[in-house]
């Protein structure tokens, strides 16, 4: 039942996104322009920690912009309509899955443009891609929930940033560490960090699953 609702809602999100391509184009252009601005200010970066930090900061801001609209742009009428049809868990899980796909596209584009302009220092590409995958998933689940909270207020874009930054720190620290390992091309993968990352993802999703139903009823 839940799976069917989720599948249906994801299809709805994709359909809506395709109908309004400017939103997706806008966020992708945002990534490209930010990377280009960094390129003009930094030129080439040869120091791995700096490369790593700048990459994740760009991705962090792009993710916030990309996910922010997921609840803020929902009209009241559409939410009421959904409310009569599906369970709140289906809504939040479908949004999380859809946003993960969106963020995965954003982060892959970011990686492509970033390594093209600023230089590619990655020595262990599979690990970096895995980090990116888990990172998109974590960012998406956390930001989707925060966007649901922020959408209830009047100044939601500012709140989106200030509410999400502090609680994103654990995720970001682990991601920075893992991608730094991928840059250095360590001989063995550090599975502890991968496990911790998955553990954080599971916690965020469990919390969203439990708490979302208190958020959406007005």
């Amino acid at each position: 039942m839940l799976a069917k609702q989720i599948r249906y809602l994801i299809a709805k999100e994709i359909k809506l996104e395709m109908r309004n391509k400017y939103a997706l184009g806008g966020i992708l252009l945002y990534v490209v322009s930010t990377v280009f601005v960094s390129y003009l200010s930094f030129k080439q970066i040869i120091n791995p920690p700096t490369w790593n930090a700048l990459f994740w900061i760009i991705l962090l801001f792009a993710s916030i912009n990309g996910v922010a609209k997921s609840f803020i742009s929902e009209t009241r009428g559409r939410l009421l309509y959904l409310y009569t049809l599906v369970s709140p868990q289906a809504v939040i899980l479908s949004k999380i899955i859809y946003n993960s796909l969106l963020l995965l596209v954003i982060s892959l584009l970011c990686l492509l443009v970033y390594s093209l302009f600023i230089g590619n220092l990655i020595q262990d590409l599979p690990l970096f891609l895995l980090t990116l995958l888990l990172g998109s998933f974590g960012f998406s689940s956390l930001l989707t929930m925060v966007s649901a909270i922020a959408s209830k207020t009047s100044n939601n874009f500012t709140l989106m940033a200030i509410l999400s930054f502090p609680i994103m720190m654990p995720l970001l620290m682990v991601l920075l560490k893992l991608s730094k390992n991928a840059l250095d091309g360590l001989e063995h993968w550090d599975f502890n960090y991968l496990l911790v990352l998955m553990f954080i993802n599971v916690i965020i999703i469990a919390l969203s699953y439990l708490l979302f139903r208190y958020l959406w009823r007005d």
């Binding site: 909270i149 100044n155 200030i162 509410l163 502090p166 609680i167 720190m169 560490k177």
Partner: protein, 225 residues
């Protein structure tokens, strides 16, 4: 009068504990250590602040969960005022730590795991208050800030558990640095430390109850106006 005293015995106990902490904390003998010298006495003031903060923030979390299950606005008042008091103790913890760091590490603030954790805690609760401030309707504010409070507290715990494993720390008791238990061979410091922890936590709870009463009175007069 006597009945009041019996009912409020824990407040008297808290006051006595804190009084004892201040007197004994400054006068009793402490182990002589290089670099640390007399700053080791900060143990009686800095560490209990964090214990108090975590206790009171847990009260806040507990009442946020309670609010979501019973929708009683009293729980929301307790949750928000507890968060206020907890943050106040956190600020005191940062100030006492910062002064201590100036005399031992030579800087008011260093990039350290423990300090980052403290800063993130304060940022989370500041965000919580901004969120409360931007919601007007009472029930809606209570519900949404309760959700954020629970979400943020769990992420904070994750952060405080994970972070020390990612980086080394300069802080005593972390990263191979000895904590006070290594120096306190004849337990003289424990004689002050344990009452200090109890006293400061109880004092924090007392402040919290006063803040809750003030907030309840404010809302009452607001309704009657």
């Amino acid at each position: 009068m006597v009945f009041e005293m019996i009912k409020n015995w824990w407040k008297i106990f808290a006051a006595l504990c804190v009084l004892y902490t201040v007197i004994a904390g400054f006068l009793f003998k402490v182990p002589a250590q290089p670099i640390l010298h007399e700053t080791i006495r900060n143990l009686y003031f800095h560490v209990p602040m964090w214990f108090g903060m975590m206790t009171i923030l847990f009260v806040s979390l507990w009442h946020s969960i309670k609010y979501l299950s019973n929708s009683n606005i009293q729980s929301d008042i307790i949750a928000s005022q507890a968060a206020h008091t907890g943050m106040f103790m956190g600020v005191l913890g940062i100030i006492t730590g910062s002064i201590w760091a100036r005399y031992t590490w030579g800087a008011w603030w260093v990039a350290d795991t423990k300090l980052n954790g403290a800063a993130i805690t304060l940022l989370i609760y500041m965000a919580y208050f901004i969120l409360r401030g931007s919601l007007d309707e009472e029930q809606k504010r209570a519900r949404i800030s309760a959700v954020y409070n629970i979400f943020a507290y769990v992420m904070l715990i994750v952060f405080l558990l994970i972070l020390p494993r990612l980086n080394d720390s300069l802080h005593p008791g972390n990263g191979g640095n000895p904590g006070f238990s290594k120096y306190d061979l004849d337990s003289t410091m424990r004689m002050v430390f344990y009452p200090a922890v109890i006293g400061w936590i109880l004092l924090g709870v007392w402040m919290m109850t006063i803040k809750i009463r003030i907030e309840k009175l404010k809302r009452k007069t607001f309704i009657n106006d």
